[in-house]
Symmetry: C2
Subunit: 299 residues, 2 copies
């Protein structure tokens, strides 16, 4: 059985942490321990991960050193974080592990490009933000009270460029790290890849990878043990099991940008493959695999 | 036939260039054109590359933003450059190409750790250099007239951690990008990898990879068309062909840190495998493959 495990941001950087190498390594070692029941069961594993704070840090570095070292475009900063986090994962998980730099195709005509929504990188003064808007063609927005920020599009992932390579390594029993940060967004152009400055939702990219491999299971690790219905109300309850129809009906009542994209990605994978998806925390994973915690989505 | 192609620094950044993404991409496209006779001949190819200016730029970024974004250790900066350059190569070469993040084992007892020699990263004032020496345990040296700089060890590469994965992808006909910047130096520690702040010579690492795969040919691309004997004298001549014995005898008269490590790496590969090594420039490659240019080293 092949399982795609999408690591949550807290697998890398905990609350109040800055994201030093030592912090990320310690967190990943905990995650590796939590994943032991899956890793040691002889299953084939692909690990995916987010890169929000890491790419934010890298963009700050690029900006602050811009007079001395050339600023790289966002798609290359995404690439850099795949290697940063991939190397940390290889230092925390038992071998054999291999990290494959992953590009993900997007449609340059995706409506997302007309309406960039995803804030990224450092905060700027309005003056500097306007300058970047003019000089680099960035879209910028005011972020309540904290200053101005670049916003980038978040297009839909359409295909995993290195799919065949990832599949070949997984089939050999190698734990593969792939699709970090949702993948490096690219479009095909004249027989080659053209990097695109955008960010792809990592849960969507993980679901696409799991669908295309195909994997039998998609495991989405996050900070909470299960999907909740009626969050914050007296009727709040953990959902233990959902059919894909129930999951899709639930979407409207979930928090946008938080649990909704995870349930949406999980449902898309189950719908496309007939496999199962589990959403839970690293801490609850052992119980979730036995059906006593987490949220399981199936056909 | 499998060929390991070690790209020279000028395949990425030309004279007077800063290393912007656009510059590197344009240079790589030229290199891809020059390599077409090899790439289109149905051969299996592994591309390796240096990362000197790129890792220097990344260390400047880390330093300048250190108050806002955590500084990553050198081994992670090396990882970041593998992804930066790997993504650029994937954008310049015809698919299928896959970049495998590559770790290279070194011996923590290597004598190189007692005598760091490789200058890296930004220049500092003496005061700041002394501070870094004290606070981070760095070795620093004065670089004639330009200020102070960190120096790091350059240990011998002993093994390619992701060798099996690289081999599996090459055997499927994928052009693999590996061992960038000589690889991420690591040691085994308690069943996991421990990152080590050092840099590995990229030609040595390329020769080790070519030996371990094994490849039949090692192609070292550099700025000059061939190895020269009597450089700068009236008797200066291009060496067209050398036995491995002749190559080893020649080492003493070659420039240290320039052509010597290339000939040494080439000879080590030929000695270990009985394969052939070619040292030439991208421009002369076509003629070199026909024996009319470049330097060929064989048993």
């Amino acid at each position: 059985m092949t399982t795609v495990v999408a690591l949550g941001g807290n697998a890398l950087i905990g609350p109040g942490e800055r994201g030093t190498a030592a912090e990320q390594l310690a967190n990943l070692r905990e995650t590796a321990k939590a994943l032991a029941p899956v890793l040691l069961g002889g299953e084939r594993i692909v690990l995916t991960h987010g890169n929000g704070p890491q790419v934010g840090n890298e963009l700050i570095r690029q900006e602050r050193a811009s007079k001395e070292a050339p600023q790289l475009p966002l798609w290359l900063a995404v690439a850099q974080t795949q290697a940063e986090i991939g190397a940390l994962i290889e230092a925390a998980f038992a071998p054999p592990v291999a990290c494959v730099l992953t590009h993900v195709r997007v449609d340059p005509e995706d409506a997302a490009f007309e309406r960039p929504t995803k804030p990224i990188g450092p905060f700027y003064t309005e003056e500097r933000a306007r300058e970047l808007e003019r000089d680099r063609g960035w879209a910028v927005v005011q972020d309540a009270g904290r200053g101005w920020r670049r916003v980038v599009p978040s297009p839909a992932p359409l295909g995993i460029v290195e799919l065949e390579s990832i599949r070949a390594l997984v089939e050999r029993g190698t734990t593969v790290v792939a699709c970090g940060g949702g993948g490096i967004p690219v479009a095909d152009e004249a027989g080659a890849l053209r990097g695109i400055d955008a960010v792809i939702d990592k849960d969507r990219a993980s679901a696409l990878l799991a669908t295309q491999l195909p994997a039998e299971r998609l495991l989405i690790l996050t900070a909470v043990p299960a999907v909740l219905r009626g969050f914050g109300t007296p009727e709040q309850e953990e959902l233990r099991e959902l059919t894909v129809d129930e999951a899709e009906e639930l979407l409207a009542e979930l928090a946008e940008g938080s649990m909704r994209p995870k349930v949406q990605a999980a449902a898309a994978f189950v719908r496309a493959t007939g496999g199962e998806a589990v959403i839970t925390s690293a801490e609850a994973l052992g119980e979730a695999l036995e059906g006593r915690a987490g949220t399981r989505i199936h056909t």
